[in-house]
Symmetry: C2
Subunit: 354 residues, 2 copies
Amino acid sequence: MDKDSEKELVGVKEIARRAKVSIATVDRVLHNRSGVSEKTKAKIQAIIEELDYKPNILARRLASKKVLNLAILIPAVSQETDYWNAPLTGIIQAEEEIASYGVKVNKYFFDQNDKGSFVQQANFIVDSNCDGVLLAPMFIEESKYFIQNCISKGIPYVFINSDVPEQNSLCYIGPNLYASGYLAAHLSGFLVADTDQILIVNISKEIDNHHHLLRKEEGFREYFSVNNRSNDIFKIDIRQTAYESVKASMQKALENKNIKLIFVSNSRVSSVARFLEESHITGLKVIGFDFLKENIDFLKKGTIDFLICQKPIEQGYKGIMTLYNYLVLSLEAEKVYYMPIDIITKENYLYYRN
Amino acid sequence: MDKDSEKELVGVKEIARRAKVSIATVDRVLHNRSGVSEKTKAKIQAIIEELDYKPNILARRLASKKVLNLAILIPAVSQETDYWNAPLTGIIQAEEEIASYGVKVNKYFFDQNDKGSFVQQANFIVDSNCDGVLLAPMFIEESKYFIQNCISKGIPYVFINSDVPEQNSLCYIGPNLYASGYLAAHLSGFLVADTDQILIVNISKEIDNHHHLLRKEEGFREYFSVNNRSNDIFKIDIRQTAYESVKASMQKALENKNIKLIFVSNSRVSSVARFLEESHITGLKVIGFDFLKENIDFLKKGTIDFLICQKPIEQGYKGIMTLYNYLVLSLEAEKVYYMPIDIITKENYLYYRN
DNA sequence: ATTAATTTCGGTTACGTACACGAAAGATAA
DNA sequence: TTATCTTTCGTGTACGTAACCGAAATTAAT
């Protein structure tokens, strides 16, 4: 049972009384508006300091009638993959939670396979007047350009899902790609012997996106190198994401080899699993990414052994909340927030929360 | 870019205007207080329905000057294990978040090895006047008695960390013990061959607590049974938690056997790891529970291979928030909220969030 | 010294809801 | 009918902060 000293919550009124000024004046220094002499300003600030005054958020939001406009720019959910459903879900969750606090989230979507749509939507955001941006910087150069516009308008922005370092974003929320590749390799280590052959599969159409996969591959290879494991590691890049294309590439890749484990560097792992199943190839271990329905189906059946996932819903949720905390509560954000690297198996997927 | 219809946020004032009554009358039906004729009550309710009125939480908390008193009853952090630090951290986090909403959390702690202290603290809570209780029902009968008191006073209660089913709690937040044991077995399956011997170690002083460990053991054994794995599985119960006692028991247990994997059914796994290290026993795989500093140290060194963890901080956080949501926002809670079963290894522990 | 311009500050209302208090309307009894 | 009681409802103030508007104090210009 705690008996710590009950701090009486003081408000502007008490501060005004002690400083022998009106609450309006206190309000002015709180928002460092002009119109207060240096002397009284100092006096009031001292009292604020002394009393450890914390403004009442409720009263503040209630009295301030202006609504906060946030904008998000993320890929649209396509028929190819519904990965971005998850971050969007988190974004909507956050929106509902803070809607009554006068926050509105305007949603803009672009086509992952079309840089033009990204630029177009980004321009819409620039033209709208918003107070903060949540962005999936999938196209690096275009993102940098967009950011320049934000900076010149004084709009803070948060990166989600993939980072563009050195761009002075409020924060980055997403995976540490390298580390997740490294972990995948560790899990692989349990599944194969030193003499077994390993295949890395990168499936991605857009070159920018491909870049992210390479980071995972580096981490993956690093593990085997650091631990002096001498497995043969092959790799293929598949640049057409349709199943037929994956199938053809996989057939070729497995020819005349004795691959024992396949590492698919993104959520497209279900295509590979489907191929293995349809070809009646068994005895192969498979590791991939993301908690998608198709992937889980194969996980249940044992075609996929491990999925690595990084809480996409929470990424969206935290992205919005970071902007809210910064703009409304004026809390500073962690510059980099790496999401936990979750391991999903047949046995724990039921309890997983994105 | 969404263009859904902007719902104008309406308040009691608008409702009052439409119903041609005063806001006080609207307020009365909102809180279904007495003093309103059935006719006007029906009229007002219809309008509320039609307009899909959502009360403004900020204004509500601001105007209502009564503070909400929550009580928690959890084990004290002992020198033996600081596991309960984590839930407490989450509880404090939640408290800070909602403190400005007029919520206060009163903390009561009991000694895990002393039922009497549990009863005593529970009585303190009953005598205090609180509006909700968060409880770790470690001692089953005593908890049931406590709950009876809560029910008779109309106080809602939430279970955390371990469940007592059929007690009509607002909700249970914590692990699915059986499933986590099952997962541990699955991971073990990767680490051992069919001919290897396995040792299950239960370390716990209190019998009630022991009961929880058995659920994990069941899940563990079930996996091997379901998958027709024929490993010899031995087991020991250690009823004294001090290291010397663990050491003696372990020495005896390993004698004349060829154990290849040890499954420790709770967070005491570091004692076992310490024993192995001091005895220079290598080549043994170890699986245990919980993200504690001692455990992580051994994980880093490779003495422990896997830790299973179930977000104790979040358990505390969610426990308080569930009460808050129920009492303040009158949101119903999920009856059972099983925490995700997280797998922690050398490679991902850095990114783990409790 | 007087006026004008500027800086500094206080009074006041508003945000959406809760609730005490008292007034009006209706019901009952004489 | 009038008096009394009960039910039903409206007025007004408060919660802690934001911000407008105008007043007082200070400074600058004549």
